[in-house]
Amino acid sequence: MVELYPSLAQCAIVAAAFKVLLFPAYKSTDFEVHRNWLAITHSLPIQEWYYEKSSEWTLDYPPFFAAFEWIMSQAAAYVDPAMLVVKNLGYDSWQTVYFQRTTVILTELVLVFALSRFVKSVPLPNKNAAHVASLSILLSPGLFIIDHIHFQYNGFMYGLLILSIVLARKQSTLLYSGILFAVLLCMKHIYLYLALAYFVYLLRTYCLDAKSVFRPRFGNIIKLGFCVVGVFAIAFGPFAQWGQLLQLKDRLFPFSRGLCHAYWAPNIWAMYSFTDRALIPLAPRLGLPVNHEALTSVTRGLVGDTSFAILPEVTKEHTFILTFLFQLVPLIKVWRNPGCWDTFVGAITLCGYSSFLFGWHVHEKAILLIIIPFSLIALKDRRYFSAFRPLAVAGHVSLFPLLFTAAEFPLKTVYTVLWLVLFLFVFDQVAPVSERPRIFVFDRLSLLYLTVSIPLIVYCSLGHQLIFGWDRLEFLPLMFMSSYSALGVVGSWVGFMVVYFTA
């Protein structure tokens, strides 16, 4: 057993100390969302959980997450009972803040545990790399910004995801991996985006014979089917009994939202909208028809139905078909390589990519869906790493608009720059040389991309204000950031596709 320093526990302790210091930091409406859920689950009977709407932040996570809130509310009752009153909208006494922030830090221990299992599961020669990767996840600026300032429970949830991925490594624990993923789906349905990869992998590796697709292993099929159906039955059964399933569906999948989220997530649709906007002044010269309704649209396609002035309209169906298609492509390889864990994790990553890039109303926070599984295999060799690099920069930089208050500005930038400098350097040292030749162009492009980030961040954070003042053209830095990030995410996606299929 090799000891690696600093250990996960040591990093977790220092990181926890830092996170406690962030108690008074800015918190988004998600804080109130979760407080409201604590109140709903604590003070109302289960039948009313999904009907309660005193607050605009209704319960829109699946039942297990509601149960998780209920468990926490039992402790909250001892801290400050007032936070458990449904009518106390916007209640944020210091006890409430300390309590909720503490639960985020404590539940993140699940992530620490999952990462330690991950390092244990890796064979000895790659242990060092796995340790570095797990430290990078533990200290991820994404989790730092989203969980500990903005406020969510991603650390806990990604802990479960990583645990499930680690359990998928061995044939003997595959069943538990499937069960755990089913539980995770019943906590937060965003993981549905990854479900296809799990389905194909479990089907091929667990339910069918490794040598022949035509020899099903009935014992395994029954076991897995029983367990997964059981998990869903526990979660949704009671609500089915009360005839509330349709209500749950409406709450969990609110399709009335627009194509792009208020802050453009750096995906294909952001680039599409950007192109559309850029074409408006050119349209008359190119002789393109302009949709004048879109020009006058108040929301400019941010909320509600998106309307494009020149480019064709995008519907939900289009996004679904695109997402599905691009998810299927990597799954072919999973199907052909039964039991190959690296391929499986690669497929999860690519499923994350396609849902992030093509999905409907994607939130920029969903970038973690790509970064975290990718981190697990980013150090496989240098080719993987060179695809990961632009993603690490773009993905984290794209989270910056989540925190817009002056006091948090140094926190998010310095923390992210610290993380990028440290881990990109260490990854570079640790990643083994690939067996296959590298693709020269990708390498150089990614280096160029990285270099551009420095002047861009400086411009967006300081330069713009110095040149144009505080309130002129303030959309410009945001647009630059978004386009830059989108370029990085798409570039790393293309790069990773190539690596994935040539590996």
Binding site: Y5, I13, L21, P410
Partner: protein, 595 residues
């Protein structure tokens, strides 16, 4: 350490350590058998990957960013005087100075409405406030509007003020500490890796962060100028040392705690080994010139006609009244003397009592058992002066006789402890002054050994502990616990770990001298126990009726005892180091004679 061992013992081969590294890395890497190595304390493991030598261009920015994050995180918390009208606290005082310096002519800086946080820091602070006030007014003039902005509490103003502390620290304290440590570790033959670890430990010192970024002050600017002065001494640039030290004095009069040592050292350098008159002359001249430069803008500001009229009609400062000379009230000279005496009067408030509040020094401790108020104020002042002089005379004499750069740190800490314990008008925050040179000892040879770490760590933790009543008032309880415990954890100290006090080496290897003795262990453990017990008492037990300050007084008493011990330890450290140097000198002499 290993090279001190008897020659027949084979020296254990260490992998991954450059051949040039001195023995002091042995303090950081523990052999646990089978050729396996572990870091001696958590801070080492955070820099574990760098032990084979990673570029300073990488390590340094990473350390600076990490410690900066902790500073900024603390600054999110409360500050002194938040929502406490009518006077608020140190935050308001600093903001108010930015307000008056940017709006009033220099002649009025030290005279304007003295009842409301009148400027009582030396000129460099005034100029610093002026600069920050000008920059801040560019963001929002409302923050520093004259009179209208009193007690202004806007979140943006808080961010700006907090940022000024961080930026000032990164412009002064941090470059000074980085260059000082680089020079000092090279001089002491300490490996670059150990130096980085010591740097991280020094920059995470809980007291500095809590007072400057929590409570709100600019101590690190003054401390940084002192460190810059020390750095200049190490580099042999005595004149720069004078300039920086005058800067420190001109920023905050508290730097006087260090002045006797600096004076003794500079005088010693001019006297031993042979008397060097030109150097003495140069030092005196440059010191006077820097003081003149420091005061020049204020004096020029006082000399114009309108100011002269104002001064002539206003009551003279008490100091001027006692001067035996008579000057024509409308002359330029009168205005200059008026301004000068007013500054001195503001900066050195002799009229105040022996001590304010409860502070962990000798006077407050004695006062608890034997009320000092029964004595005349002048008698107390004399007693305080006498006691302070008595406590600093020995270290100053040593430094004068042996003006060696390596003796400066223990001498500075001993003298600063002397001042803290016995001088007049001590604040609990002044504990940062003796703590700084003591903490810098971590970078010296054997600085990260268990013995030194135990003592320096203990003094620092005790120091933050005595500031707890102050920090509690500012709603800084959680940052206090987090930062102090984090620092203790990183350096492997109680209450988080007892590793430092556990002997891992057989005594005969000669390494025993780097480990805390049984007496040290007992002493420190009893203090740690008392501190923990005090926190429990303070949190859960109400003080008896009629004695509402009992816990605070108890804190000050224990603190005074501990600081007395810290003073003695620094003295002992100074004496042993001095003796070592003497012995070395004798050895070299006899070798020369043999040749």
């Amino acid at each position: 350490m290993a090279n001190l061992a008897p020659s027949h013992r084979p020296r254990p081969r260490k992998k991954g350590r450059p051949a040039t590294s001195p023995g002091s890395n042995n303090n950081l890497i523990l052999d646990i058998g089978d050729g396996k190595q572990t870091p001696a304390f958590p801070l080492v493991s955070f820099l574990w990957a760098a032990r084979a030598g990673v570029s300073q261009w990488l390590i340094l920015p990473l350390i600076l960013m990490a410690v900066g994050l902790f500073r900024w995180a603390v600054s999110l918390w409360g500050y002194s005087g938040f929502q406490v009208p009518p006077m608020h606290g140190d935050f308001e005082a600093q903001r108010h100075w930015m307000e008056i310096t940017t709006h009033l002519p220099m002649a009025q800086w030290y005279t304007y409405d003295l009842q409301y946080w009148g400027l009582d820091y030396p000129p460099l602070t005034a100029y610093h406030s002026w600069l920050l006030g000008k920059i801040g007014s560019a963001f929002d003039p409302e923050w520093f509007a004259l009179d209208a902005s009193r007690g202004f509490e806007d979140p943006n103003l808080k961010v700006y003020m907090r940022a000024t502390v961080v930026v000032s620290e990164y412009f002064v304290f941090i470059p000074a500490v980085v260059t000082f440590l680089r020079r000092y570790t090279r001089m002491q033959g300490v490996h670059a890796w150990s130096a980085s670890i010591a740097l991280a430990a020094v920059l995470l010192q809980p007291g500095n962060i809590l007072v400057d970024h929590g409570h709100f002050q600019y101590n690190t600017v003054m401390l940084g100028l002192v460190v810059a002065s020390l750095d200049a001494i190490l580099a042999g640039r005595m004149l720069w040392a004078c300039i920086f030290f005058v800067g420190a004095l001109g920023f905050k009069q508290m730097a006087l705690y260090y002045a006797p040592v600096m004076f003794a050292y500079l005088l010693g350098v001019c006297t031993f080994p042979r008397i060097n008159i030109p150097r003495l002359f140069g030092i005196a001249l440059i010191t006077l010139a820097s003081f003149a430069l420091l005061l020049a803008p204020l004096l020029v500001g006082a000399a114009n006609a309108s100011t002269r009229e104002v001064y002539a009609s206003s009551p003279a400062p008490p100091l001027l009244q006692t001067l035996p000379i008579q000057v024509d009230k409308s002359s330029v000279l009168y205005a200059l003397i008026f301004q000068l005496t007013q500054i001195v009067h503001r900066v050195f408030p002799f009229a105040r009592g022996l001590f304010e509040d409860k502070v962990a020094n000798a006077w407050c401790a004695i006062h608890t058992f034997y009320k000092l108020t029964r004595f005349d104020a002048t008698l107390l002042q004399r007693a305080s002066l006498g006691a302070t002089l008595a406590s600093i005379i020995v270290p100053c004499a040593i430094i004068f006789r042996h003006p060696r750069a390596s003796l400066l740190l223990p001498a500075l800490s001993a003298v600063a402890w002397g001042f803290f314990l016995f001088s007049f008008q001590v604040h609990e925050k002044s504990v940062l002054l003796p703590l700084l040179p003591m903490t810098l000892l971590l970078a010296g040879d054997g600085g990260l050994s268990k013995e030194l770490r135990a003592w320096v760590g203990w003094a620092n933790i005790l120091g933050s502990w005595t500031m707890y009543p102050l920090l509690k008032r500012d709603e800084l309880r959680i940052p206090y616990f987090v930062l102090t415990l984090l620092w203790a954890y990183l350096l492997g100290l109680p209450p988080t770990s007892f590793e430092t006090y556990r002997s891992r080496l057989p005594r005969e290897t000669g390494a025993a001298q780097f480990e805390p003795s049984t007496l040290t262990t007992l002493l420190h453990f009893s203090f740690y126990l008392v501190m923990i017990a005090w926190h429990v008492l303070e949190a859960f037990v109400a003080p008896p009726p009629g004695k509402p300050d009992l816990w605070v007084v108890l804190n000050a008493l224990v603190g005074a005892g501990g600081f007395g011990i810290a003073y003695l330890w620094c003295m002992w450290k100074l004496l042993t180091q001095c003796r070592k140097i003497d012995l070395q000198a004798i050895g070299e002499d006899s070798q020369k004679k043999k040749q």
